[in-house]
């Protein structure tokens, strides 16, 4: 079975966000770059299929040169090979543009299952994975918190408001992952894993390699774009409720009822 994991490199969630000089993007000095946590869960899900069914796991990423580091980390976790599409013509792409690049690269690969995070924790766009499935004309199941493959079908558990669904799709299919760290527990790379990763194949591709016309991607092709980026109005500390324990309880209820009017 061939599994492809879509991987994005994002700023670590500890990052304090500062607006860059163009007013539309963040300042990127002092950022620690990591694998998007939800994509890390996808690597783990793929590796479990490797462990249980001998699946081949290929990583595919769209990003600048530094994304190689994230691919190497996932290779160290146990994936078999990595592909990075690094081409300045893709810069400024909207989600659809990015999906076009990934879909074009996927068309050149064998795949039964594509897995990725449901969103990246930088732009939180929540679109690229599903768009890739549409462009490849394959079914998708999004926001899975459990995944298994048997008999040519992928089965997932998907929470919706007030309920949990179990769904299945025939392969080939794309699954996006939700959940949390405690759900997937992505494995740490072992030292032997890190050493082996250095020798695993890692290809860098350009747009021309994907047979994708440049006018389909990049800023000029983008249907939607960021016009401006700002920090939220910082939330100020309010009041410390005074009194002894019982007094604080009384006063808080009074404040919530009479001042905030929320109860």
């Amino acid at each position: 079975m061939e599994v492809v994991v879509l991987l994005k490199q994002v700023p670590d969630t500890e990052t304090v966000i500062k607006i860059g000089p163009d007013g539309k993007s963040i300042a990127t000095s002092d950022i620690k770059w990591v694998i998007n946590p939800y994509d890390e869960y996808a690597v783990e899900a793929a590796l479990r299929l490797k462990d249980s069914q001998g699946a081949n796991v290929t990583l595919l990423s769209l990003g600048p040169q530094r994304a190689v580091e994230s691919i190497r980390s996932a290779l160290a976790m146990g994936a078999d090979k990595g592909i990075l599409v690094d081409d300045p013509a893709t810069e400024g792409s909207d989600a659809l543009g990015k999906a076009r690049v990934l879909a074009a690269a996927l068309k050149q690969l064998p795949f039964d299952l594509i897995v990725c995070g449901h969103r990246a924790v930088d732009d939180d766009e929540n679109q690229v994975g599903i768009m890739v499935a549409e462009l490849l004309d394959i079914p998708h199941l999004a926001l899975a918190v459990a995944l298994e493959v048997a008999d040519g079908r992928v089965r997932v558990e998907r929470p919706i408001e007030g309920a949990k669904l179990k769904l299945e799709a025939p392969l080939p299919a794309l699954v996006t992952l939700g959940g949390a760290h405690a759900v997937w527990n992505p494995r740490y790379a072992s030292l032997p894993g890190i050493m082996k990763a250095k020798k695993k194949p890692l290809e860098i591709k350009k747009l021309a390699d994907l047979e994708l016309p440049p006018e389909q991607v990049g800023a000029a092709a983008a249907r939607v774009r960021v016009a401006s980026l700002e920090l939220p109005v910082p939330r100020q500390a309010g009041v410390l409720v005074p009194g002894d324990t019982a007094g604080k309880a009384r006063e808080l209820v009074r404040l919530l009822h009479e001042e905030a009017k929320v109860i």
Partner: protein
């Protein structure tokens, strides 16, 4: 020439979900700003008979596709149906809820239509006859205004639940309901195998009140007092990442950058220190109450009402006072 605002609604368990009314209301506001009509798409099983209610929120015409095949949401059936209607309708703006299925369908549709989509928007406006959408990025550590390229229609946006005000329903307004024929497969390749309802729990992403517990709760059994407090307030119980990692609370309760981003009117954080990732998840709550015995806890710098107390003493006292208030009202 693309014209009008079209709202994609959500019909589940025989009724439209509240988020559909929020989105219809926002659609009404945008349609008024544009001076263009407001329509809606309603997909489901038994949806046509219920669709006129959308008129109470200002929808003028509903395109309903009512089939047993559409009883459960699947992108495979919903996306082609909606896309066919939208290709004929050619609206300028398409709105949906940023609910679980709403985000799913919008993304699939945007790719199908070659459209630009802004997900999980917290504000929308019309400027120069075009949509502008504000949405949180980096889990709300920054906010971005989005714009669409000239002529890039439909301009698609999904609206974060519990943010946009619902119009007071006007029962004197009724929507015209049409049932266009759309091409659907006889059966879907994907299947819903089972649906397990979570016993009467309010979903965190749509809750108006959330009581949340952190490491200071010291153990899973102690969440019972938070559950009692939440129940009194008609709210949901949330959890910090530490408690989920420790196995005390289910991952679906996790609030934070890699959990749920929530927008309640009232967020009560108990025994939560206020890590940057947790703040990213609840920082846009309307009112924040923090209960923590450590006066240096970072959460106090963001709380409207801070209570420096041992939560095991304070929360029961708070419950008593709330019961008194309820009895008096």
């Amino acid at each position: 020439m693309a014209q009008g605002v079209c709202v994609i609604t959500e019909f589940r368990g025989g009724a439209f979900r509240r988020v559909s009314f929020e989105v219809a209301s926002e659609g009404r506001r945008l349609a008024d700003a544009l001076g263009e009509p407001l329509t809606a798409i309603a997909l489901g099983d038994g949806v046509a008979a219920a669709a006129a209610v959308l008129g109470h929120y200002g929808v003028e015409k509903v395109y309903a596709v009512d089939q047993a095949l559409l009883k459960d949401y699947l992108a495979e059936t919903y996306a082609p149906a909606a896309a066919e209607i939208l290709k004929t309708l050619q609206p300028r703006v398409v709105l949906s809820a940023a609910s679980v299925d709403g985000k799913d369908l919008s993304a699939r549709l945007a790719a199908r239509l070659g459209a630009g989509l802004a997900q999980d928007c917290t504000a929308l406006k019309i400027e120069g006859g075009a949509l502008r959408a504000q949405r949180p990025v980096y889990a709300g550590k920054a906010y971005a205004w989005y714009e669409w390229a000239d002529g890039a229609t439909p301009q698609m946006a999904s609206c974060r639940p519990n943010v946009m005000a619902c119009l007071p329903p006007d029962p004197s307004r009724s929507a015209v309901v049409e049932t266009p024929a759309v091409t659907l497969p006889a059966a879907a390749k994907c299947r819903v195998l089972s649906v397990e309802a979570a016993a009467g729990k309010v979903d965190l992403a749509e809750a108006q009140t959330i009581v949340s517990g952190g490491r200071g709760m010291k153990g899973p059994e102690n969440f019972a007092i938070l559950e009692e407090l939440a129940q009194l307030l008609g709210g949901a119980v949330g959890a910090s990442r530490a408690t989920v990692d420790a196995g005390w609370r289910p991952h679906s309760d996790q609030v934070g950058q890699t959990g749920k981003v929530v927008t309640p009117t009232l967020y009560i954080a108990c025994g939560i220190s206020g890590a940057i990732q947790h703040l990213a998840g609840m920082g846009s709550s309307k009112f924040i109450v923090a209960v923590n015995k450590d006066p240096e806890a970072p959460i106090f710098s963001k709380a409207d009402y801070g209570v420096v107390e041992d939560l095991f003493q304070f929360v029961p006292a708070l419950i008593e006072e709330l019961k008194k208030l309820k009895a008096a009202c």
